[in-house]
Assembly symmetry: C2
Homo-oligomer: 197 residues x 2
Amino acid sequence: MSSEPRERILASARALYLEGGVQAVTMRGVAERVGVTATALYRHFDNKEDLLTELIGQAFLTFGAYLHRALGGKTPMERFLRSSESYLDFALEQREIYRTIFMSPVPKPADRPGFQSHRFDPASTFQFLVDRIRECMDSGDLRKDDPEQVAISVWAHVHGLASLQVCGSFDLPDEQFQEVYRQSVKRMIAGLAGPSS
Amino acid sequence: MSSEPRERILASARALYLEGGVQAVTMRGVAERVGVTATALYRHFDNKEDLLTELIGQAFLTFGAYLHRALGGKTPMERFLRSSESYLDFALEQREIYRTIFMSPVPKPADRPGFQSHRFDPASTFQFLVDRIRECMDSGDLRKDDPEQVAISVWAHVHGLASLQVCGSFDLPDEQFQEVYRQSVKRMIAGLAGPSS
DNA sequence: GTCTATAGGTGGATAGAC
DNA sequence: GTCTATCCACCTATAGAC
């Protein structure tokens, strides 16, 4: 590949990104990590935004790979539950990427002329979830309801849990939190009122 | 008051903050807005962090005022539902403050020597919610369960909804979203499985 | 492809005159 | 209390030599 140096630059950028977020990615910093001077990077990327765009693009693909695992489940309910597991795995294992995708303001098309939506942006995540839920309603595992509205509730619930953990609001180690997360998903399905499960 | 200029500085800082977040608050920018030079600010604040700390402190008080409204409800369930309403009101009306309090990494005591927790930080929000939920369990409005675990589920759910809206992930106008939010709270209470409500 | 040198920008903070 | 002048750190980006 003639683009091997390009990959090395992206790798260094990703490392800095995972350590300290977007603001930790500077041309100087990336260059130092690669072992060249900052100006050398401009042979491979037009400018910083270019580099960042490619980085984020790869991040979306990573998320897509996590979600895709859930489709290995054999029943609708299994696929639904696995989706929530995969979602959490991604949030915990790729914290900074999760922050960027789901905890940062969504750039509007107006802000970025020529903006191309990725395969796995928040919108397609949402659609993925709608499909899992519709399946469960068809199979009778979930009560019949508007799949899109239910998807909003479910997504908000898992995202809320994941994002609070990523922010450190719970002050729980990840292993303990995973159990809390699973229980909470059960509770979301069973509800808060009515007879105990 | 001898601290009147101090208040004017804070007001300008708050304005910038609400417009563009923390990063929009620069000593130069604040000073320009007040109508003085940047150096003048250092007569009133030791440094930028000092200014920011005071700003955030006031923000926590604002949030506390929102939550406090919920206590006007007459029954436990009413107070519980009003809490969720107040929470959303705050998130939508004070977006940037909401971001700072609930969507940013929680500073660990280690990071800030002499760090003093505020009256309404994530931890005390959580306690407030636990109290509302315990009330509802005692009154029989909610099924008996571990109030803290249920509080986690409930908080995550409303925070997830609020934060996704604040980020623009839903792409819905606030008025429409409020109705979605209310329905979702109902759904959280009723659950996703079992008979329709 | 990579370097040195350099331009041009933003931001925090201090010294000392008024 | 506020000013001017100034320093320092850090950043993106370009020109032109090698």
